[in-house]
Symmetry: C2
Subunit: 590 residues, 2 copies
């Protein structure tokens, strides 16, 4: 069964929950017309269903391959990329000045969810290009922008991010790739980078690598890193392609999933590069792209989860086992209560993750475009707060939901080429790359809470309490029950937040970090439950079935997840003591 994008759910989450309507009329989004949302999503859904989804399993079986010094994409990917490029999808959220459509980032997220769901290995390629576009927009010189942006925005070229080295993963500051100044103002880049997604391929005539490297006189650690543009083919002054730069893919990783996405070992042998942004400020430049890349990875969790849900739902309709009252003959397993519980669990978690990601996207758009400086500031704080949650919580959802999808398939789910099995394998990378989920938790507590003194989380909690008030004011018993659970969960999140802030204030960083992952999980649950409640409230103007579905999802999530929130505070506030204080007995170290 092929992936068919849930256009109605995506549009509703963007409009009714994340509030994309707020972006209408803002500078840079002049082209944005709320009436465009549906047709754009419908068009993207066609590309996802007709072009990308049919290549998902063949891409998994075949994978990309390294041949004669270059990477060849799996069959059909070249043509699919051409369709993607010709549809103008790369420039959806890029400025019109550079050939883009100037539409909100949040809308592009809705589109990218579909592409990732249909074919995550494919989706990674534009995702990385978008990161390069953002870095150039934020930090490129006018000349750099003119040289690279039009071709990146049109999709004629793709972009990559080159951070990781064997000894420098989560600790980017440990990288050793060198950048030595040339006489002409360029730099000679030498070193090896690993885990470079779509680092080489035959989809486009050029690839623009953004590479972190170290100048000869750079300070040690993360304050001595600079960012460079290193094109595969140098670009002549007239825009034509010049000589081949000495940067090569020298190996492809054999991965558990996303086989059609080439994960390259890249060797830079004195390749010509150009500094982007300030010297030794490369990490800051990279962080510009990182927020956006992290949100996009979170979206992969949503996407893989949705694909897993659809595959499981379809299988549950087809597969017949056992008898069920009211069904003659063997019943589709969809009629068994336990299968239904699994399916509603999958759907509720995916919907919550989707809402978190889109709300982060709308916040990012507002932070850029709002005319009101204080709204820009608060939107930026919201984006900063939600980004690590969107990344970590949604990708954990992706893994768990993909695992549930395998389970619904029974023995068939364990066959390597069943879509459910592929999604289980594909999903597993998302909690790892773009900063492991542990790093996200450290970011949430050690930066996002610490730098604002908790203000951005308190604002979030105030908004949750407003949802509680709205739900109670309906006087509908279903909503009142959801409100009661959300209220208790919000108090739990507040309590855990106060504890975290007290630890940070007391400079008990180790205790705060020891509870960080459990804190992030709680925050994601409570914020996710809040968005589902908002969705249920917003759905009251919709058709009966749609309303009933949103209410069932919010109610189920409240009963099964929000209700556990108060009991999870001790795991955050006390759990760490066990492994901080018994480290010798547990780990053989002090």
């Amino acid at each position: 069964m092929a992936y068919d994008a849930p256009v109605e759910d995506i549009a509703f989450s963007l409009e009714g929950v994340a509030g994309i309507g707020k972006l209408a009329g803002l500078p840079g989004h002049e082209a944005y017309d709320p009436d465009l949302i549906a047709p754009i999503l419908e068009e993207a859904a066609k590309l996802a269903r007709d072009i990308l989804a049919p290549l998902n399993q063949t891409g998994d079986s075949q994978g990309a391959r390294l041949q004669d010094g270059g990477v060849i994409a799996a069959n059909g990917f070249r043509e699919a990329y051409a369709a993607f490029r010709d549809g103008g999808w790369m420039g959806l959220a890029a400025p019109e000045e550079w050939g883009g459509q100037g539409l909100p980032r949040a809308l592009a997220l809705g589109v990218m969810e579909m592409f990732h769901a249909a074919n995550m290995a494919f989706g990674l390629c534009p995702m990385l290009s978008y990161g390069a576009i953002e870095a150039l927009l934020a930090h490129g010189t006018p000349e750099q922008q003119k040289t690279y942006l039009p071709k990146l925005v049109s999709g004629d070229w793709t972009g990559t991010m080159n951070l990781t080295e064997p000894q420098a993963g989560s600790d980017v500051g440990a990288l050793v790739t060198k950048a030595v100044p040339n006489a002409d103002g360029s730099y000679a880049i030498t070193g090896q980078k690993i885990f470079i997604t779509w680092g080489d391929h035959d989809l486009t005539e050029n690839i623009i690598h953004l590479v972190l490297a170290r100048l000869p006189d750079a300070p040690a650690g993360s304050r001595g890193i600079s960012l460079f543009i290193v094109p595969k083919f140098l670009v002549n002054a007239d825009g034509t392609l010049g000589v081949r730069n000495p940067v090569r893919c020298i190996g492809l990783e054999k991965k558990m999933g996303i086989h059609a996405s080439p994960t390259c070992v890249m060797e830079y042998s004195g390749a010509s590069g150009w500094l982007i942004g300030e010297a030794n400020k490369g990490l800051a430049c990279m962080f510009t792209m990182m927020n956006s890349a992290r949100l996009n990875v979170g979206l992969e969790g949503v996407a893989v989860g949705e694909a897993a849900y659809q595959a499981a739902f379809a299988y549950a309709q087809e597969r017949k086992q056992g008898k069920v009252e009211g069904v003659s003959g063997p019943a589709p397993i969809l009629h068994h209560a336990d299968i239904r519980r699994t399916l509603i669990t999958m759907r509720a978690r995916v919907a919550a993750a989707r809402a978190i990601c889109y709300a982060t996207g709308v916040a990012a758009d507002l932070a850029n475009a709002s005319k009101n400086p204080s709204e820009r500031k608060s939107a930026k704080a919201r984006e900063d707060l939600l980004t690590p949650i969107a990344k970590a919580w949604s990708t954990d959802v992706g893994v768990d939901v993909a695992s549930m999808g395998v389970q619904v398939h029974g023995g068939m789910g364990f066959m390597n080429e069943t879509l459910a099995a592929q999604l289980y394998r594909d999903a597993r990378i998302a909690p790892i790359y773009e900063g492991t989920n542990g790093i996200q938790a450290i970011d949430l507590v050690g930066r996002k809470l610490a730098l604002t003194g908790g203000a951005s989380m308190r604002d979030m909690i105030t908004e949750i309490d407003e949802t509680v008030r709205l739900a109670r004011s309906t006087n509908d018993p279903q909503f009142v029950q959801i409100a009661d659970r959300l209220w208790a969960a919000s108090k739990a999140l507040g309590e855990a937040t106060d504890w975290m802030l007290a630890r940070l204030k007391a400079e008990e960083q180790d205790k705060a970090l020891a509870g960080a992952t459990a804190y992030l999980a709680l925050a994601g649950d409570v914020i996710g439950g809040h968005f589902l409640a908002r969705a249920a409230l917003a759905s009251r103007s919709k058709a009966a079935d749609f309303r009933a579905r949103q209410t069932a999802l919010a109610g189920f999530f409240a009963e099964t997840v929000l209700a556990t929130a108060p009991g999870r505070v001790p795991g955050i506030t006390e759990g760490g003591d066990r492994f901080l204080s018994s480290s010798s007995a547990l780990f053989g170290i002090d």
Copy 2:
């Protein structure tokens, strides 16, 4: 890094937690001497470490293959099996009468945990043989026992279980394989079976298939199924091998994991079979093996979890990233709080699952061997109650812990041939086979609770409350805190149990089954936490580090898992209403 069996943990769990000591001196276990436990476990640990573990990753890469009509095991497996056979491991828990050692089943579980952890694909072969031995012991005629048991117990032959057909998975009653009586008292078996583990191989000269099939005049459904012995080679009266029976492996499944375990499509073309047990009572015979097989699959969850923990711990010691106070230069990631939280989570959950499985094994032994009929009866009730929990809860632990193991490895964990990735792939089958975990939940609620009116669960809860009393009576604040959490969790389990029983009494079967999986998860958590608390109490006589470790594991589990128990009752008691009542809006069906 190679798997090294945690002999001390296994022995402690068997002795200090599951109470294997109770079996000393019982009929059938005359050979059992508690002083034998350590040397037997040590010897098994050597086989696991030196012979089986080194073949785990090569077996994964190479897999078994079908060639010239027969299955060839991965390189080294023949020799490894010979070492296993020559060590007498197959007969460890088999009666001395048939060449076994007459040791407790529970002790064999300790040994099998090691073999599964070292190489789950290998461990499946003896696991299935053991099932065949049990079926023959319980239901075979004296002649059948004499013909097959000595060779199965010695490991000269292996055994298989043939239940599944394409249309008959969880619904075994839908099978159509035919058994037509021959003039000589045998039956001609014709049909196709799928998902047959180690259905063919070149490790031994003969394979004894136990096959469910339908007699010509059999009633429809599960009451018309009979069990047959179908040897690969017929056995002559003098014990030598006769003609090749027309049963063949005609295909191998391409699976996500356990590649070295051949999963066969078996074709029976009028193969000679002999009825075992009564006609049309095959399912009951199969259930004899099933309890034991389910417990063994639960043990696979423990084993894969332990292997994943060891691999993650080793990686965390080696891999250096970032700076940590008190460590000069880049610190091993083991020093980061978040990695430690992950490791202690893995270890606590594995220890809890281990204790549940071993306690089930001791109950099974007591149910067979106790001299006291009322003890036999209560032990049987305990075995019946714990078996679905041991199977489902432990295999869910296996999947979750394997996923955490991948996470600790970062990008390396996603490389297909990293052990962590293999374990994530291998682990995923265990919640599916031998009755999906959803089937286990239905068994727990629909049979185990229903048939005893909840008495066996109430006995379990009484035992948990006794642990609470013991922990409180220590007056040690650490234990008192654990006791408080265990007490609240025990009340929650009691409340959920009462609700389940009320639904069953009111014939609201659908509501009971809608909450079954969440109820099983809660029961596993509470019972697991109880065993960890028991372990901590029992460890007070041990060395300081051991004691500190057991107390940290029990405390961490209490804070992070037991503390959530009260909040999980609504998910059981209310959650089902959402998907039972909104099925049209959610699933498009009434």
